[in-house]
Amino acid sequence: MSATIPAAPAPKTNRLGLPKADYEGGKSTLCLGCGHDVITKQIVNAFWGMGIPPHRVAKFSGIGCSSKTPAYFLNRAWGFNGVHGRMPSLATGALAANRQLLGIGVSGDGDTASIGIGQFVHLVRRNVPLVYIVENNGVYGLTKGQFSATADLGAKQKNGAVNDWVPIDACSLAIELGGTFVARSFSGDMKQLQTILEAAIAHRGTSVLDVISPCVTFNDHEGSTKSYKWSKEHETPVHEIGFVPFFGETLAEIPAGATKDVAFPDGSTLRFRGVGRDYDPTDRDGALAAIHTSHGTGEILTGILYVDPEKPSFPDVLGLVDEPLHDLPLDRLRPSKEALDAIMESLR
C-alpha cells in the first residue's frame, strides 16, 4: 500500500502546448483494418504536429465510408458532413465566408470521381484553400461493393464481375485543371502520407491527395487492383519528401543527396530527392507524362506529383477582406443613406 501515487508523465505537447488527445475524434465505426482509419490517424498526427489550433479547422465531407471519418478526428473542430458528391461547394462557401478557417475535406472515390466529379473539377479550378483527400478504394462500401469510377479496367469485384470502364485518375485530372498541389499516397505508407499531409496543410490553395486506401471487406481479394497486396507490390514512390514548416521544427527528415527545394509563401520548405528516377514536382508536363506512363506500366506513382505554391488562392482572387465576413459590423456592410438616396435619385 503506497501512500503516494507516482505522477503520470506529462503528455507530449505540440508548439501550442496541446496534447495529441486534443486532436482526436470519436471512435471509428468503420471495418477493422480499413485503410481510412490509418488516414484518420495521420490527419490527427499532421494537425497536431503542425500545431494548428483545432477551432480554426473546418472539416468537410460528402457521403460514403470515407465521409464518415471527420467524426473520428479533431473533435474540437467544427465539421460539415453534407450531401453526396457536393462537399466542394460547401467548403467553397464556408472558406470564402471565413478566410481564417483551415479547411480539410475527406471524400471517397465515388463521392469524388462519380457523383462528385463536377464539383471536384471546379474546386480545383478555383484553387479553394482546402486539403482534399480522396480515400480511394475503387468500390462503394456502404452499398456493398459496386465499382466506382476509379476502379481499374479489368479489375475484379468480389463476386467475379469485371470492370469494363476506363478509370478516372484524380491526380492527372487535377493537374490538367490547374491544380496547385497534387499528391498520391497509400494508407500503407504512413510516413509518406504524414509528410504530404503536413505540406498540404501549409499550402494555401487546393491540395488534392489521392490516397489508395484498401477496402478490407469488399475489395481486398485476388483480382482487385486496390487491395493491400496489389498496392504494396505496385506502389512506386517518385521521391523521398522532407518538410520543414515555417516554425522551423523539422517534422519529417530531410533526405540527403541531390535534392530540390520548393519554398512556400509562409516560409515552409519542401525538399525532394528522386528515387530511382529524375522527378521534378514543379514540372507540370513532366508530371502528367509520368502519370500517363504509369497507367501503362501498372505502377502506382506516389509522392507530391505536382506543386505550385505561388498561385493565388480563391479568396485572394475574390479580393476579400481578411476578417471572417460574419465579424464585419453592419456599418461596414450597409452603405450610407446618402448612397441609397443617390441611387434613388438616379432612378427618377
Binding site: D22, P53, P54, H55, R56, A58, K59, F60, P70, A71, N75, R76, A77, W78, G79, F80, N81, G82, V83, R86, P88, S89, L90, T92, G93, A94, L95, A96, A97, N98, Q100, L101, G118, Q119, V121, H122, P315, L318, G319, L320, V321, D322, P324, L325, H326, D327, L328, L330, R332, L333, R334, P335, K337, A339, L340, D341, I343, M344, L347, R348
Partner: protein, 627 residues
C-alpha cells in the same frame, strides 16, 4: 365584354389618320410596340415610358420577349393610367408595328377602333377597316439620318427612336421630357444622344406634317408620380441584399433571375470595396450550376455569412437535395426564385406563379420552408432584408418568390426607405457564451420552447462550441443517431420551429373596405390585377369584396382570423393547379370547399378582367343554383 366599359378610346367611325369626332381620353391607355428581338428597341421603349412617367402620369411597362438573342418577335406594352392601375390590360389602344413577321397577326388581333402606327411598306391597313391607321415610311426616313451603306446596323437601332418621335406628336407627349429621357438613358454618350435626338425629331416632324388628326389617347401632365422612381424588381432585390448586409452571393445564370445577381455585382463593386485597401466585403461566386450555388450558400451560412442565391424554377429543382440539408442541419440561407413558366424549360421568358408547392415543401422527407411573396419593388427591397433576418433567426433556408413580371419589368415605386434596423443574428453563442454553457449545450436543444436551438460558428475561439453538422440522423448534441425517439424528437421540434415562423414572417395586408361575407385573396404580382378588379367589381357589378394579400407562408394568425371571418374566398393565382389553394385547404380543412380559384396561366401577367370575370361567373352560377 365587360372590359369595354373601361376602354380608353371609343371609336364610332373608322378613319385613317383623322381625329375628328373621336372622344378624347386623357392619361388612360395601353400602348404596344411590336419589334424584333435584338433590334435595339428597348432603349426607345424605355425613353417613351420614362417620358410619360416624368410627365407625372402613372405608368407600367411590360416586355414580352422571346427566348432568343436576335430576330424573334418582341412586344413592349406601356400602360398609362391616371388612377394608378398598373396591371397588364388585355385591350390595346395604340399599336406600333415595326416587325413584318407579326404585323398581320397583330392587326387582325387588335380591338376595334384601335390606333395603329405602322411601317408604311408593310401595308397593314389592308387587313382591317375598323381601325385607325397611321402609315409611316420608317425605312425611308431613317436613311436621311445615316446615308452610308455601311450604316445598316446603326439604322436598325435608331429607326426605333423615329417611332418615339411619331408617338410624341400623335399622343401629345412633351418633347422636352423625351429629350431628357434620351439623355438619361444614354448617360453622356454625346454622339449617340445627338443621333437619337435627331431621329426622334424627324419622327415628330413627320407626324406633325402628315397627320392632322392625332390619336385621341392623350398624355397630359399631372402630379401623380412626384418623388417616385422606376425600377425593376430584380434591381430592387439586389439593393435590399446589399443594404441588408449580404456578404456572399452565389449564382448560376438563368432567366429571369440573372439581373438580380448582376445588379448586386454592380452595386457591390461600387459600395462594398474598402475605401483604403480596395478589399471586398462581399464574395460573389458564379458557380458551375445551381447545385453548387446553394451548396456554397449553405457553406457560407454555416460559417455565419449572410449568403443568398437567385435562380428560377429549374434551379430550385436542382437545389432540392441541398435545401433539405439546410432545413435539417438548420442553416440560414436566402434563395430568390424569380419564377418563370414551367414545367421543364417551359416558357423561359414568360411569367408564372408556378413554384409555390415546389418552394414550400421543397426536398424529400417532411420539409417545409418559410416563403415570402413580394408584390412590388419596394417589397423586393424590404423582403430581401427581412429574409436574411428570418433565415438567421429561424436558422433555416428562406425562399423569396418573385416572378419574371416583377423581376424584369420596370415598375413605378416610392423610393426605398433607408433601413435602420440592426442585423438580427438570432441565437448565436460567442466564445464567452459557449464557456458558460459548455457542459450542457447541445446544437439542437430546444431550450427556449420555440423550436429554435442555439448555434455556434466555426472558428469561434472556444472548441467546446464545435460540432459536426450532418444531414444524417442526429440527436440534440448533434451526434449521429438512428434511435427512433431521437428522430421523432428532432423532427417534432422542427415542426415547432415552423409554427414559430408563423408569427415571424411578413404579415398579410388586409383591406376590409366592405365588411363583405366573401373575400378576395391574392399574393405576389397577382395583387395588381386583383386590386384593380376589386374596384371594377364595385363599379361594374356592384360587388364589394374584402381583400387579403398574403405576403408569406406559413400562414399566421392574422390570415387565420381573416379566412375564418369570410365565407367564400376567391384565391387568385397565376398557375394551373391552384397551388396556394392546396396549401390553404391543408391549413383550413373544414373550409376546403370555400376557396374558389381564379387562375391565369398563359405566361402573361394577370389582368383585372380575368378576376372580374372569375368572380362574376361564380356569383352568377351560385345565384342560378339557389334560384
Amino acid at each position: 365584354m365587360r372590359g369595354e366599359m373601361h376602354m380608353s378610346s371609343v371609336a364610332t367611325k373608322p378613319s385613317t389618320g383623322t381625329g375628328a369626332g373621336r372622344m378624347i381620353v386623357v392619361n388612360d391607355f395601353s400602348l404596344q410596340i411590336a419589334t424584333a428581338n435584338g433590334s435595339g428597341s428597348q432603349t426607345a421603349n424605355s425613353v417613351l415610358m420614362r417620358a410619360i412617367f416624368r410627365m407625372g402620369v402613372p405608368v407600367s411597362g411590360k416586355n414580352l420577349f422571346p427566348s432568343n438573342i436576335q430576330g424573334l418577335p418582341t412586344w413592349f406594352t406601356i400602360r398609362a393610367n391616371k388612377d394608378g392601375y398598373i396591371a397588364r390590360k388585355r385591350e390595346i389602344d395604340v399599336l406600333v408595328l415595326m416587325n413584318a413577321e407579326t404585323a398581320e397577326e397583330d392587326v387582325r388581333a387588335a380591338r376595334p377602333g384601335a390606333h395603329v402606327v405602322f411601317e408604311k411598306k408593310l401595308g397593314s391597313d389592308r387587313f382591317r377597316d375598323d381601325l385607325h391607321f397611321y402609315p409611316v415610311p420608317f425605312s425611308e426616313l431613317v436613311v436621311k439620318l445615316t446615308m452610308g451603306s455601311d450604316q445598316a446596323k446603326l439604322r436598325k437601332l435608331i429607326v426605333n427612336m423615329i417611332y418615339v418621335g411619331v408617338l410624341t406628336d400623335l399622343m401629345g407627349i412633351d418633347p422636352a421630357e423625351i429629350e431628357a429621357a434620351i439623355k438619361k438613358q444614354l448617360k453622356g454618350k454625346q454622339k449617340a444622344i445627338d443621333l437619337n435626338l435627331a431621329a426622334m425629331r424627324l419622327g415628330l416632324e413627320h407626324a406633325a406634317a402628315n397627320f392632322p388628326g392625332k390619336i385621341p389617347c392623350r398624355v397630359e401632365r399631372m402630379e401623380a408620380t412626384k418623388g417616385k422612381i422606376l425600377i425593376e424588381g430584380n434591381a430592387a432585390a439586389a439593393l435590399g441584399c446589399l443594404f441588408g448586409g449580404a456578404t456572399v452571393c452565389c449564382w448560376y445564370p438563368i432567366t429571369p433571375s440573372s439581373s438580380l445577381c448582376e445588379s448586386f455585382i454592380d452595386f457591390a463593386d461600387d459600395l462594398r470595396a474598402d475605401r483604403e485597401t480596395g478589399k471586398k466585403t462581399a464574395a460573389v461566386i458564379q458557380a458551375e450550376d445551381e447545385i453548387a450555388s446553394i451548396g456554397m450558400v449553405l457553406g457560407a451560412g454555416w460559417a455565419g455569412a449572410r449568403a443568398f442565391t437567385a435562380t428560377s424554377g429549374p434551379g430550385i429543382s436542382l437545389m432540392s437535395e441541398f435545401l433539405g440539408l439546410g432545413y435539417y442541419v438548420e442553416i440560414p440561407a436566402v434563395v430568390w426564385d424569380v419564377q418563370r413558366v414551367g414545367p421543364s424549360t417551359g416558357l423561359p421568358t414568360r411569367t408564372m406563379q408556378g413554384d409555390l408547392l415546389l418552394a414550400y415543401y421543397n426536398s424529400h422527407g417532411d420539409t417545409k420552408h418559410p416563403v415570402l411573396f413580394p408584390a412590388t419593388p419596394e417589397e423586393c427591397f424590404g423582403m430581401a432584408i427581412e429574409a436574411f433576418d428570418l433565415a438567421e433567426e429561424l436558422q433555416t433556408p428562406v425562399l423569396v418568390l418573385s416572378d419574371l413580371d416583377l423581376g424584369m419589368n420596370n415598375w413605378m415605386s416610392d423610393p426605398f426607405p433607408y433601413p435602420t434596423g440592426p442585423r438580427k443574428k438570432g441565437k448565436v453563442l460567442d466564445a464567452a457564451a459557449i464557456e458558460k454553457v459548455r457542459e450542457s449545450w447541445g446544437r439542437y436543444q430546444d431550450v427556449d420552447g420555440d423550436g429554435i436551438p442555439w448555434r455556434t460558428l466555426p472558428g469561434t475561439p472556444n472548441p467546446f462550441g464545435a460540432y459536426l453538422a450532418r444531414g444524417s440522423g442526429h440527436n440534440e448534441k448533434a451526434q449521429y443517431s438512428e434511435k427512433p425517439q431521437d428522430y421523432v424528437a428532432n423532427v417534432d421540434r422542427l415542426a415547432r420551429k415552423h409554427d414559430t415562423a408563423r408569427t415571424m414572417v411578413p404579415k398579410p395586408r388586409i383591406e376590409d373596405r366592405f365588411g363583405s361575407a366573401d373575400g378576395l385573396l391574392a399574393f405576389g404580382t397577382s395583387h395588381h390585377g386583383t386590386a384593380e378588379a376589386r374596384d371594377r367589381l364595385v363599379s361594374e357589378a356592384g360587388v364589394g369584396l374584402d381583400y387579403l394579400r398574403l405576403r408569406a407562408l406559413p400562414v399566421g394568425p392574422e390570415v387565420r382570423d381573416w379566412v375564418l371571418r369570410h365565407d367564400r374566398i376567391y384565391v387568385v393565382e397565376q398557375n394551373r393547379d391552384a397551388q396556394l389553394r392546396s396549401i390553404l385547404r391543408d391549413e383550413f380543412p373544414d373550409r376546403a370547399d370555400r376557396f374558389v380559384s381564379i387562375l391565369q396561366y398563359d405566361g402573361l401577367p394577370l389582368d383585372a378582367t380575368t378576376v372580374v370575370e372569375g368572380v362574376v361567373s361564380d356569383r352568377t352560377a351560385r345565384m342560378r343554383r339557389s334560384a
